[in-house]
C-alpha cells in the first residue's frame, strides 16, 4: 500500500484490516507533535518506584513524555508528582537526579516550592509584589492523578482518565508477576540502585512494539545465543523448562496492553534452572513451588516481555526490568531502565541477578545492543520521501487469536494467540497500534473508555 504525503495523522494510516501501517506514524513530525497531545497527555505513564522515595522529602526526577517531572514524598508521607518547571519563568526547579530536600528552589529568580508543590518562597513578596501575588495559584503544576500500584508509581495529566486499575483492566493480573515477589507474595519487589538512561536514534514506537511481543525478531539475537549471556552462563537466554510450556501472546484489546507468556503444564515438575549457582537454583525452585501453591493456575503462568500502553515496557522474568520510552522528537528516544529484585531474596541471589541484568540489558547488554542497531537503522531508512510511501507489514498471524483461551482447564482473559506451533504472530503489535490509533482519533476519555459504554449498554 502506498500512501501519499500526509500533513498529520489521519485515519487509515493504521490499517488493521489489511495489517498495514504507514511509516508516517514513526517519522512524521506533525504526527509526533499530535501524539504528544493525544497520547502522552492523556494516558497513564510510569513515573518510578516507591522504594526510590522511602522518606518524606525524598525525590527522584523522572519524565512523562517530553516533560521532566519530580516524583517526591511530601512531609505528610504522600507520593506526589509535579512538573519540573518554575511557574514564574519555567526554569527547572530541580536538576539533581535524586536526593532529599525540604524545598525545590528555582535558581533563576528564587521562587521556592514545598515538597507538596505549594509556592512558599517569593523573593520581595512584600516589596516588589506589594503582597498582591496569590501564591496559592502559583504552586508547581501537579499531575491530574497519581496511583501507587504494588510499589510502582503511575501518573496522568488527564483528570478524566479512568482510575489506573481500570486503565489496566484484565491486564492487572498479568502484571502481578512483574511487581510481586517470585514466590507469589504481594508486592515485595524493590529497585536496585541506579537507573540506566541512554539515547536511541529511533522513534519511541520501535522499542514499544518490540516489547509488546515481537517474537519474530529472535534471529537478531543469534550472536548472544551462541556465546551465551544466560543466567546459567551459557546456552540460550531462555530456560529449558519452557520447552514444556505453551507459548502465548496475550493482548487486552480495549486497553492496548499486551504481553508474552509461558503457561506451564499442570502436572510436570519444573526442573531447576540456574544450575551453576546452587543458592540461586534453590531460591527459585522454592519460590516456584510456593507460587504454584499460592496462585494455583495463575502460578503456572510466566509472564515475559510486555508493554503497558503507551510507553512502559517490562520484562517480568529475568532480567526483571522496567523500561520507559521517553520521546525526544520523532527521531530519538531516551530510554530509562530500572531493575527489580525480590526484596527478601538472599544477597547472593540479588548479586547473581544484578550481574546477569547488566550483561543482558541496556546499552552494554549483549542482547539489547542488537535491538538498538535495528531500531535505529529501520527508522533512518524509513524517513525518505519515497520510503515513507510504503507501509510496514503487520499481517503475521491475522485472525488466529482467540477469546477465552483455555488450556488444561485454565482460562485466560484477553485475546490470546497460541504460538507453541505458530512460533510467532504480530497480534500483540497490532493491538498496540489499534490503541494508539484510538488515542489519536478519540476526542476524549469518554470515547477512549469504550468498555464503559459496553457496560452501560449491557446494563440497559
Amino acid at each position: 500500500m502506498a500512501t501519499a504525503h500526509v500533513g498529520g495523522y489521519r485515519p487509515g494510516l493504521v490499517d488493521l484490516k489489511t495489517g498495514q501501517i504507514s511509516r508516517e506514524i514513526f517519522v512524521n513530525e506533525d504526527i509526533y507533535a499530535e501524539e504528544q497531545e493525544r497520547v502522552f497527555a492523556r494516558a497513564w505513564l510510569y513515573v518510578g518506584h516507591e522504594s526510590q522515595v522511602p522518606n518524606p522529602g525524598d525525590f527522584f526526577v523522572s519524565g512523562m513524555g517530553e516533560e521532566s517531572v519530580i516524583l517526591t514524598r511530601d512531609r505528610a508521607g504522600q507520593v506526589r508528582v509535579f512538573l519540573n518547571s518554575c511557574r514564574h519563568r519555567g526554569m527547572k526547579v530541580c536538576r539533581y537526579d535524586e536526593g532529599n530536600t525540604t524545598v525545590f528552589t528555582c535558581p533563576y529568580h528564587g521562587w521556592s516550592y514545598g515538597t507538596d508543590g505549594r509556592l512558599v518562597g517569593v523573593p520581595y513578596f512584600r516589596e516588589a509584589y506589594h503582597s498582591q501575588l496569590d501564591r496559592l495559584q502559583w504552586g508547581l503544576v501537579e499531575v491530574a492523578q497519581t496511583c501507587v500500584h504494588k510499589g510502582t508509581v503511575w501518573a496522568t495529566w488527564d483528570k478524566d482518565a479512568p482510575p489506573f486499575l481500570e486503565y489496566l483492566g484484565d491486564f492487572a493480573r498479568y502484571l502481578d508477576q512483574m511487581f510481586d515477589s517470585w514466590d507469589g507474595s504481594d508486592g515485595g519487589t524493590e529497585i536496585l540502585g541506579g537507573v540506566q538512561k541512554w539515547l536511541v536514534p529511533s522513534n519511541w514506537k520501535f522499542p514499544a512494539e518490540n516489547f509488546s511481543g515481537d517474537s519474530y525478531h529472535n534471529i537478531s539475537h543469534r550472536s548472544v545465543d551462541m556465546v551465551g549471556a544466560g543466567p546459567s552462563g551459557s546456552g540460550r537466554r531462555d530456560m529449558p523448562e519452557l520447552n514444556l510450556a505453551r507459548k502465548l501472546h496475550i493482548a487486552i484489546p480495549d486497553r492496548g496492553h499486551q504481553t508474552t507468556a509461558y503457561l506451564l503444564p499442570r502436572e510436570v515438575e519444573v526442573p531447576a534452572g540456574y544450575q551453576h549457582s546452587p543458592v540461586v537454583s534453590d531460591y527459585f525452585k522454592k519460590c516456584e513451588e510456593a507460587r504454584r501453591q499460592q496462585r494455583g493456575d495463575w502460578g503456572r503462568l510466566i509472564t515475559l516481555v510486555g508493554e503497558v500502553f503507551p510507553s512502559m515496557a517490562f520484562l517480568a522474568r529475568q532480567p526483571r526490568t522496567i523500561a520507559v520510552w521517553h520521546p525526544r522528537g520523532p527521531h530519538q528516544t531516551e530510554v530509562w531502565r530500572w531493575f527489580l529484585v525480590d526484596k527478601n531474596a538472599p544477597q547472593d541471589v540479588k548479586n547473581f541477578l544484578r550481574d546477569y541484568y547488566i550483561r543482558y540489558s541496556g546499552p552494554a547488554g549483549m542482547t539489547e545492543q542488537d535491538d538498538m542497531e535495528n531500531w535505529g537503522y529501520a527508522h533512518k531508512a524509513s524517513r525518505g520521501t519515497i520510503a515513507r510511501r510504503y507501509s510496514y507489514s503487520y499481517e503475521q498471524g491475522m485472525g488466529t487469536e482467540v477469546d477465552n483461551y483455555e488450556w488444561e482447564g485454565f482460562s485466560l482473559p484477553g485475546s490470546v494467540t497460541d504460538l507453541t506451533q505458530a512460533k510467532s504472530s504480530e497480534h500483540n503489535l497490532r493491538n498496540l497500534y489499534r490503541r494508539w490509533a484510538e488515542f489519536m482519533e478519540a476526542s476524549d476519555w469518554d470515547e477512549l473508555a469504550s468498555w464503559r459504554r459496553a457496560q452501560r449498554a449491557a446494563a440497559e
Binding site: T101, T102, V103, T105, P107, G110, S112, V120, G121, P123, Y124
Partner: protein, 67 residues
Amino acid sequence: MSDPINVRTLPPGTRIVTADGAVAEIVSNPADGVWLFARYVESPSDPALVGQEDMIFAQDVVEVRPT
C-alpha cells in the same frame, strides 16, 4: 554594601541581620543558597514580627552574627 554572604552552609541557631535591621535566628536551612527558615529576635522597623517564623531571602541577609 557588604560582601555577599553564602547562606547555604549556615547552621540552625545562627543569628543573621537583615537589610532592614532585623535580627533572626535560623530554625532550619534548606541548603539551597537562596532561602533560610528563621525566627525574628529583633525587628526595629516592625516589632510585631518578633517571635514569628519566616522565610528569609539570601539577598536580604547582610550580616552573620558571631556565635
